[in-house]
Structures are given as C-alpha cells and as structure tokens.
Amino acid sequence: MATDRYLAADAADLVEVDYEPLAAVADPEKALAAGAPAVHPQWPDNIAFTFHQEGGDTEGAFRDAEVVVRQRITSQRLIPTAMETRGVVAEWRAGERSLTLYSSTQIPHLLRTLLAGILGMPENHLRVITPEVGGGFGSKLNVYAEEALAAFVAMRINHPVKWIESRRENFQATIHGRGHVDYFELAAKRDGTMLGLKLKLIQDLGAYHQLLTPAIPTLSVLMMPGLYNFPNISADIVGVFTNCVPTDAYRGAGRPEATHGIERMVDILAAELQMDPAAIRLKNFVPANAFPYATATGLSYDSGNYAAPLKQALDAVEYPKLREEQKRARAAGRLMGIGISTYGEICAIGPSPATPAGGWESATVKIEPTGKVTVMTGASPHGQGEETTFAQIAADELGVDIDDVLVVHGDTAVVQYGIGTFGSRGTAIGGTALYYALQDLKAKVKKFGAMLLDTQKVTLAGGTCTDEVSGKSVSFAEIAGAAYRALKLPPDTEPGLVATRFWEPPNFTFPFGAHIVVSEVDRDTGAIEIRRYIAVDDCGKIINPLIVAGQVHGGVAQGLGQALWEQAVYDDSGQLLTGELTDYAVPKAHLMPWIESSHTETPSPVNPLGVKGVGEAGTIGCSPAVVNSVVDALAPLGVRHIDMPLTPEKIWNAIQQGGRA
C-alpha cells in the first residue's frame, strides 16, 4: 500500500505487463458479422441477449400503410463525464469490526447491501456515507470493483484506504452511455396518420454487464411510441458484446435514444409527405381526453396535454413568421433550419415490480424538541437540489420557516433504507414518501396543539398552531417541546414527533414537452449556429422553479453535447481514442445557446404532489430538436438524415454531396 499518490503512481509504473493481444471488435454491427472475434469465447456470436416486444398488429399496419419510411439512426457512445470522478475511502475499525465506506455513489443503501455480500460481512457492520457528490448522471448508479477493493484492502491492512479516480481512469473504467444502432420503419397514411412502428435495436453493451446494462435498451423500446396515438409496435433488441467499456444508464437512459428515433422518424415522414412537422405531430398526439392512455408497449401514460407545450413553443418562436423568414433565407441561399422535438419520458422509476431492487422510496421526518425539522430521505441527491425542494415541501406542509428544515441523506447509519437517485425519481417518489410522513406528523402536531390550546380544531401556519375559534395560538417550538417532555399526552398518542414512510408508487409518471431549435448552417464550413433554443417542459407541478430551470439547462447542455460534439471513439483493436478531455468534447459554457425555458403544468395523478420529474427531460428533448433543425436547414440540398454528433466536417460533406446531387 502506498503512503501517498506519488508512490502509488511510481509503483504502478514499475509493473511491466506483457500483453498477448487478442483479436478485438469495437463496433456492435461488426461484432454481429460472421467470423467476428468473440469477446467472450463462450458466446461466439457476441449476442448477450435478444428481446422482442410487440403490441397490436404491426404487420397489418404495414400492409395497410400508404407510405412507409425507413431509416438507420444511431445514438453514439457517450462518456458521462461527471465533474467529479469516482472516489472511495474505506476505514476498517478492527475493534468494532465495522467498516465505513465513503463513496460517490448514487445508491448508498444498495451499495451497502451488495457489498455485504461481496465482502462476506454482516450488513449492519457496514456503513456507507455518500457526501456531497459532483454529479453522477447514471455513471455512479453501479456497484464498482474499486468500492469492494478499497474496503477489502482496508480490512486487510487495518488502515484507511483512499482511491480517487483520475479523469483517464474515469473515461476507461466508469460506465459509458448510449451506443445504439437502430433500424426504424414507420408506417402511415398519406394524410400523415401514423399506423405502426418497427424497430431493430442493436445495443452496444461493451464487454460486460454492469448493474443495469441490459435494462437500458428495454426502456428505449417501452418509450418508442413517444407521444403518438397508434397501437402497433414491434421491436427486437439485440444486445451485443464489444471490447469496450460497458454501457449503462446515462442521463435519460434509453429514453433519449427512443425519443431521438421517433422524433427523427416523424420528421422524415413529414418530409416524405411534404407536411409541416408541427402539423403532423399535432395530428398524431394522444388526445388530451384519452388519459390514462394505454400504449402499445404496455405502459399507462398518467396524464398529458401534449399539444399545449408544442403550441406554447410555436407561439414563442412565432412559427408562421419564422417559416416565412426561412423561406426568405433559403431564397437568399442561406441554410436556416427549424427543428421541433416533442418528447415523452418515463420518470419516477419506478414501481417495484418494474425495478430490479425495489422502486419505492423512504422518508423520515423528525421534529426536534426545539421545533427544528430534520428530514431524512432515502433518495441520495447528487447536486440536483432536493435538499432545497424537500425542505420546501416540509416547510409548506408544517408551516415552518424553510431555514428550520435540515435535509439529511446519504449516510446509511443515519438514514433509513432507501433506493437512490436515478430515473428522475427523487421528488416524485422520495418527495411523496416525505409528503406522507409529513401528513402523519402534521396530524400529531395538531393533536398536541389542540391539547395545549384546549380546543378541537387548529390550523398550522407561520410557525404557530392556532385555535380556529378563539384565535389563541401556541408556537411550533412549544408544541415540539411539549411532545418530548410529555407532561401530558393527547389521547392514544405516544410521545415524540417522528414519522417514517416508505412509499410504493402505483405507476411511473410521464413528463413531456416540446423543444424548438432555430439553427443556421455555414454553407462554406458546415459550422452550426444555434440561433434560438426554446424549451417548454411539462414536469407536472413545479415545486421550485429555479431548481427546475437548473435541471432543464443542464439537461439541454448534455443533449447538445450528444447532438453536436461528444462521441467515444474506439479503434478496431478496442483502444479508446478519446481518452482525455482534449479529444472528448463536453459542452462548455461559451458554446451554450441562450435557453428560453418555460413550462406547462399538467399534474400527475400518480402522487399527491402532482409532480413528475425533470432531471433528464432536457437531455431527452434536446438532441432530436437539434438534428431536426440542422436536417431542415439542409433539406433544400436533399439531405434527409445525419447521425450525431453533427460535426462541421460531417455537415460540410453532406452539403458537398447534396450540392452534387
């Protein structure tokens, strides 16, 4: 064990590894070809699994179709690149036979359960602490070897062990995202009515299954109908091993791929039928009076008014005027594009039967003897700001000052068991568990208040409990003190003010929205300018607008990253070529457009807060809006589709070819 990082690096340098290079394959389609090198000799065809999903009568729909459009669409491999890389500190206390593990994980409780098995130690001797974490985006929704290794070594040498991942290691040892090759076929009538969709989805799994690797493409299939009202769907997933880093959940996890596919296909269909892309969407949306809506993939969309955000976005850009401007621009030889994406997503993941390790969430609320409120949530926020949102929920429900509320998370020794942060679930599920715990406590506080005021009906607000009849009041702190001193108790009431709730959601939630991108392509260089970015997101009830704005902005930034810049590139031997931030282009502040963000609010009936989730929406809505916009800009040249990332050279080549055609 090295005593500092320098020594560790020196020692690692002394290790000489003599590699015997084996044949490798880094591309999922090449991995499927006959004679491709086998990533695992025991699975010579490189196929890890196949999965078929079907709803309605897809063959019939295609038979009846008046028009069928087909397109191969890829969603390239991405590197999640959280600002903070992974890190682990393990401390073994031999006397107590207890292990404390600090880890930047998204799932402290699950990590503890799984580590107990890996290390062969009783779970209750293990404490996982997740301090403030600089982003995860799904990449820390895993149990990683280093977490177990650091723990193992700490126990072995009876000394704390620290491991901090370097950026290079992060790029090569932490999961990647996306990695789809999709073959879409969309059947429709000449009037634009969509009838059915077929998808062959080739998922690049990388070399191994990580925690949720095979689950991600199934999420894509579930969401492939998007916001559209047609019952016929057929999808086949082929999960393929390659000699690359495993893919797993990355912001959006399966939904950006699905949305990108369907939203590109709708635009391709609109172009084929020479219909307006807004009109074809409005024509095919699930109508607002059809909720709950059963999809062909077996989901039940909770609530929606899909036309509302699109209309709001169209108004924001003054759509008819904008199309006029585009006509004039085109006449002048300029390449101006307008791209629309209307996305639907699946959030609040998820009901336990649909989630590998439980899909509920927990909350404990303690009103301390001084009246201060401590909230302990099983969700483990990662910089999304639930500390604020949850404090706000508690303050609103209890009628106390938000500064009196402390939100605690990410310590398995302090917080009751919980599931974690992913799938835009924190507020919709964790917040709901909190809401119910607060209802329990509110009732109890009122009982104590009524007892102290010697009355029946009281209200809680502004830090006091007031007798509705006499107007006399007692402060929240006095009630709390009384509940703990317990000189006198209301009938059938125990001392203390603590409540815990575990809430199991009955369904997912389904946020939606519309993004519009106005772009201009430089004909000479292929460079893209995003002139306007309009995001209208409906994430149900909004608790804190600023936090929602932060999520939308960050989400859009990552969507732009995929649309325009990011791509993990491997050579044929499986060497990662984009191994550092000098080659892998993440979005940067100076590359961001101004985001004109607004909302519609359609409450979810799934939970009493009416919230849906917003952590991934920006990413999901973004990339198809960008690509649709750029393809629209190039449409006069006969361009129909371009795969991401839209690098200037790719665009320039498309212009050259289009110019020739």
Partner: protein
Amino acid sequence: MIPQAFDYSSPRSLHEALVLLENGEHKVLAGGMSLVPMMKLRLATPGRVVDLSRVPDLNRIAESGGVVRIGAMATHHEIETSPVVRGQCPLLSEAASHIGDVQVRNMGTIGGSIAHADPAADYPAALVALEARVRLVSAHSDRTLDAADFFLDAFTTALAPGEIVLELEIPAEDSSEGYRYEKVAHPASGFAVVGVAVRIKKNGAAISMARIGVTGMGPRAFRDRAAEKLLEEGADIARATAAVGAGQEANADLYASADYRRHLAAVHAARALTVALSRAS
C-alpha cells in the same frame, strides 16, 4: 495523473539558467501549460526542471526603432493586453486572445508556446505573417532566426540542446495595415483546427502587401506565398485564396480530415482577408 519525482531549480539570473541548461536533459519550465500536463501523464519525465519565472526581465515587452521585442516569458494575457503589442503588432495580440481560456492565457508564455511548437498553436501563424525573428541563446551562443526557419516540423524547432528562446523581434506593423486572425477552435482542446493570420496594405483599391500565415492545417505553420503574390498582383480574394495550402502537407485527426482542414484554411483565409481589408486604411 501524478508526475514522477524531479528536481527543481529556480535560477535568479539568465546566466545561472543557461549554465544549468548546459545539461541537455534538463527541461525549461515556463508557464507549464504544455509541459506539466505531459509530466502528469508521465509522457514527459525530466530529471530536473529549470523554472524561468524568476529570471528578471524575461517578460519585458518594448518597442524601439520600429521593432517590438517580446521576452520569452511574456504571458499570452500580457501580449493580448499590452498597449505596445496592441499598438505596434495588433495581429499578435489578436492571436493571443484566441489561445485556450483565461487560465491558460494567464500562465502560458510565448516562449513556451513556440518552443513547444504544437502544430495547432495560434502564435505561429501570426509570427510567420509578421516576419518575426526569434532570438535563441545558450551559455555560449546567441543567434537570431526568422520564425519561418525556427519552426521545422511538428513539435520540432531549431532550438539546440542548451538553448532557450530569449525573445521575439517583430517589425512593427504599419498603422495603415489591416490585419486579422481567424480561428476554428477544436471543441475539446480549444487548439486551432485551422488558424489563419493575415496582414494587408492597401494602395488605393489595390493590395500592395499581403501576408498569410496558416497554423493547424499542417505539421508546422507556413506562409502561403503563392496566395500573397496573387493578391499583390491584383487577384480578388476568392481567386487568391482558392488554393491556400496547396502543396503543403495537411494533418488529420478524429475531428477533421486533411481535405477538410485544407478547405477550412482556404475559407478562413478569405474571411480573414475580408476583415483585414476593411481594417486597412
């Protein structure tokens, strides 16, 4: 991400520095913006690093007799903001303003940049267009080369072991000149996929002098003398720049192919010239 152990010297005089550097294995440390990342990746493992930051006056910027002298340790930020450089060779200031980000400009130096000779560095385009000269000194030599002869190839310069870049000598631009530095920045590294630096003198409507320096396109920055000549002979910008970069090797990487780089060089040469023309009086 951890460098190997190394010794560190911080000489207080040029003489002391040059004597230390007589050992050709020692590495000069200037702003550290190129050297330190390499050391952290252990791609560079110098036994001793000789830090020039305490050698007095190495960052001096002054003009006399129509020549601007810029010390090797002048930072990109100093060059970007120096009234002397802005007034006498604004093309160089403009190029400096495009380098990396604020942090890099505050630390990185012109001497380090040209000694490193990254094919995608910004300065070299401006320096060849400005017909700058580079003064190199060692414990027992002192010579001055044209910038065009200093840059030999990718990461390869005329610096001999033991020699350092002492300063740059740049003939002041005529105040009637128009100039422009146009850059296509790599979205990840910020380096120039292609950068074009131009200078123009007008004589009525005609162009009496044109200088075009291109960086990023090939293994080293070059002046496109053919295009310069066409302009001076009266060709219009489109015609003169159509073949910018012809006959030069072009780099390729994941981001941009050789053909695309060549194309960008031509397009941006034209754009730079258009701006420069509008600035010339």
